[in-house]
Amino acid sequence: MSQPVRTPTDLTSAVAGGVGESPQRPDGNLKVRGEFAYSSDLWHEDMIWGATLRSPHPHARITGVDLTEALKVPGVHAVLTHADVPGANACGVEQRDQPVLAVDVVRYQGEPVALVGADHPETARRAMERIVVDYEVLEPVVDAEAAARGECAPLHASGNVVRHVPVRRGDQSATAEVVVTGRYEVGMQDQAFLGPESGLAVPAEDGGVDLYVATQWLHVDQDQVASALGLPLEKVRLALSGVGGAFGGREDLSMQVHACMLALHTRKPVKMVYNREESFYGHVHRHPAVLHYEHGADRDGKLVYVRAKIYLDGGAYASSTAAVVANAATLGIGPYDVDNVTVDCWGVYTNNPPCGAMRGFGAVQAGFAYESQMDRLAGVLGLDPVEVRLRNAVREGSTMPTGQVIDSAAPVAELLELVRDRPLPAATGGELDLRQMPGGVSNTTHGEGVVRGVGYAVGIKNICFSEGHDDYSTARVRLEVVGGEAAALVQTAACEVGQGLVTVVQQIVRTELGVQRVSVLPMDTSIGNAGSSSASRQTYVTGGAVKSACAAVRARVLELYSRQTGTGPAEVGRLGAELRGGKLVSSHDVLADLADVLGGDAVDETAEWRHRPTEPIDPETGQGNAHVQFGFAAHRAVVDVDVELGLVKVVALDCAQDVGRALNPQAVLGQIQGGSAQGLGLAVMEEIRTKDGKVRNPSFTDYLIPTVLDVPPMGVDVLERADPHAPYGLRGVGEPPTISSTPAIVAAIRAATGLPLTRVPVRPEHITGT
């Protein structure tokens, strides 16, 4: 196999430090210096460039495709359509309902229709413009609620409802003294990763293909690519290239099959890189949502019932809509103890952009609505917003609306108290510093119209895959003597997407095997499935697999020792032998040097590791132990709002989160800060705006993400309440802070303005009423 240059081998260099320490990540300096090789930097001798022709229409019938003129362009090697898909023309991360290339209908603006392979990206683009596609434009379906009610023409044979999840607990006709209702909307957020979709497909001599790509889940890609190419799995080999952010947006395929098709057709390496605009069409987004809620409570603010109808717009194809629906439904009332619950959640097909996985995954949309409702309830009762939450907070032993009992720490009340009790930031004053003002350096206020507000929120997220999914990871650990010193090698297919997994797996090996030298092999499909780098699960599941592989290696080392010394296995067991500091030690003695025990042997073990099983939920009642673990975070937001211009400066965004055990405290902090910032983006600026199914702002000029002047310093309290079911007691970290950040900020804006603000992101005109 010929190798492309600029693979991210740097990632695998060793870091020091064990579990609980914060060693410097190997990619940090490279990224800061701009030297890190991303998948868009891949290069291969003789490679050609692929380009994708996409539908300009959200919904249309294809009545003809003429490739004649495109094929005449000098430098063009291939122009391919659906007729050239060698295997099944179907892909999808959960349901294979999306064609690799459109056949006779397009269901969203940007849907791939044809591919060009050419000697230069510009040649490919010019040829693409010469492909003639005749469309009969159809009326787009854009209203998710109408689609859920069955009022729209079906976009797929199965109808327009991807999934409906009801959750029923307790008295379905319960009444209460105090009732608050609300209708809420969540706009379509984008993952806005900086590294566009890109990769390099290299045809192999065995008729297969090697694909170097930035993804979140190598094996689910491999499955779909092999099926579309009509090749056995072993002939489709994937290797992870440098990933420039993911956040859920790389769980679905983008250019994977396309590049491989072109490579197999032309017998040349094919590189594809989306530009920024194409990237907005090239990946799924966060489901926009409409949420109707009714909360009933007694006069003390204790919740009696919650009823909710949640509509999630999945866009043209299923992607992970079904799982997102289950999350929004089962977590739909938040971390609150409520006896009577009626939740219905629908995920539907429309001709809007496809939506799927994004950090928070259904829990974000519900979180904005239920936390807004809690504030409304506090307002009606004249209670403090923290107090009303404390009176209803779940704790260990509480029962979720699904009947599942929370069987590890759930310190929701404590998290709220922690953020509440932090000192408030000083009022903005003194010498004018525009950077501290709403509107920032654009010079819109010197204090005029600025009102401060404070808001609180808490959220809940399931960690790992749910609903009976066979959720596992695979890890290989090899221990041998290198240069007179015991050294370990660790291999997984778990994608490093910038979250720091390669650092954490080294820390685990170092701790488990008591060696300093640990290296990590590049991530690829030559080892078994690791599952996705999503659902806050990788440290839990792949970390668990690495720990498990280390245990197998340790057992083998003890066997070696037993054999070498004639100490019986029972005696070795009685000594409580462990590997520490390159030595085999008992509780009070050094038994042997690890290098001596290993000698010339290599101990090489591969482990497949599963967390405890979950159950499917009952399709009628939503009951079942569907989730492995719950994560909780709380936020207090302090904002300054220019009430005349509707501009917002988030002054402080403090967070408290229980992480079970912080394997790498600095990485934990980074996740909390990053998740909070992404929630801030949804609160005040981030939205893909569509009109009649068309995206109006596919660029970073008009899809705004927070800058350093938008994200305030954050005070973070990290609790470590070990979960006895999880490796090291850890609790997934990445998603919970994204959930509570948004509603806390909006609550603060409401406090400053007195406005109801039922939609995120809050735009200036929502505040000014113009």
């Binding site: 683009r125 530009n275 920024r276 605009e277 010498e431 004018l432 510093d433 525009l434 950077r435 709403p438 509107g439 920032g440 350096v441 654009s442 010079n443 819109t444 206020t445 010197h446 005029e448 119209g449 005349e644 211009l645 509707g646 501009l647 400066k649 005040v684 600026m685 705006r689 109006r696 702002n697 660029s699 000029t701 008009d702 705004l704 927070p706 800058t707 350093v708 002047l709 938008d710 735009r763 200036p764 005109e765 000014t768 113009t770």
Partner: protein
């Protein structure tokens, strides 16, 4: 695509005369985005960064001449005292990297209604110097913009500089964007007080097909200040005057609804920006201290 890199203005003008379809490029902060997004495919680029005289600024008495290729960062650094309005607007352009590359000449060349420096140039009565192989001419800033991304520049002409008088009174620039840095204007406003002429300059950006002078607001305020003797007395401005000024500025706009904001919001925000920035300028005029800052 051809790439020409002349080292003198004469060479550049000759090239442009021969091939008017060449697209001039300096910082590239607009042109390269258009090329990368495949929105534009010019037959050739005329790189102006090799022409030293375009990247210089000079002072002729009270008049400053800023070469078309002087980047925003240099304006902020070198001219903040004499051209405070232009420096404030330059400060709001993009990120530090963009300010190191982008130029006022490019802002004019693109003639986007959202260009940050336009309102300042109009309020400060700037003159745009353009040249061709046929000769040079000067175009008053408020006659330069003809429509959305259309200007008075002829196909064979290049922008060589802007000329504007050093500030004789306070200047302010403010823009609304939906993020606290690195943002395109939803709407923007510039005001310049010219006490020596008893005149006020005011202009709006991103709120009409072109940047636009708020003439009625200028006339109103100039008249109010003069008739009440406020230029000399430097007494506080009546609130009613500030409000009326804001209303007239908003009326000067003909904004649209787009993905960045609604027409109604733009009008509303312009009235607020105009009222506030006039207040800051007047406080400075009244000796209340400098209302400019980081």
């Amino acid at each position: 695509m051809d790439f020409l890199r002349p080292t003198t203005l004469a060479e550049a003008l000759a090239a442009k005369a021969e091939r008017p379809d060449l697209v001039p490029i300096a910082g590239g902060t607009d042109v390269m985005v258009e090329l990368n997004f495949d929105h534009r495919r010019p037959p050739g680029l005329l790189d102006l960064t090799g022409i030293a005289e375009l990247a210089r600024w000079s002072a002729d008495g009270d008049v400053l001449r800023v070469g078309a290729a002087v980047p925003y960062a240099r304006i902020v650094q070198d001219l903040g005292d004499r051209l405070p309005g232009l420096a404030m607007a330059s400060r709001t352009v993009g990120s530090p990297q963009i300010r190191n590359r982008g130029t006022v000449g490019g802002n004019l060349g693109s003639a986007s209604p959202a260009g940050d420096t336009h309102p300042v140039l109009i309020a400060g009565d700037a003159v745009v110097e353009v040249a061709s192989a046929r000769g040079a001419r000067s175009i008053p800033a408020d006659e330069f913009y003809l429509g959305v991304k259309r200007s008075a520049l002829e196909p064979d002409e290049l922008i060589t500089a802007v000329r504007l008088a050093a500030a004789t009174g306070p200047q302010q620039f403010a823009k609304v964007g939906t993020r606290n840095a690195m943002v395109i204007a939803v709407c923007s406003f510039a005001v310049s007080l010219h006490p020596e002429r008893l005149r006020v300059g005011a202009a709006v950006g991103s709120a009409a097909p072109t940047p636009r002078r708020a003439s009625a607001a200028e006339e109103f305020l100039s008249a109010e200040l003069t008739s009440a003797g406020l230029w000399e007395s430097r007494e506080p401005l009546p609130d009613s005057v500030q409000r009326r000024f804001g209303e007239l500025v908003a009326e000067a706009a003909s904004p649209i609804d787009d993905v960045r904001g609604s027409a109604a919001y733009r009008r509303h925000a312009l009235a607020v920006l105009a009222r506030r920035s006039l207040g800051w300028a007047w406080r400075e005029h009244s000796g209340g201290g400098n209302e400019r800052c980081a």
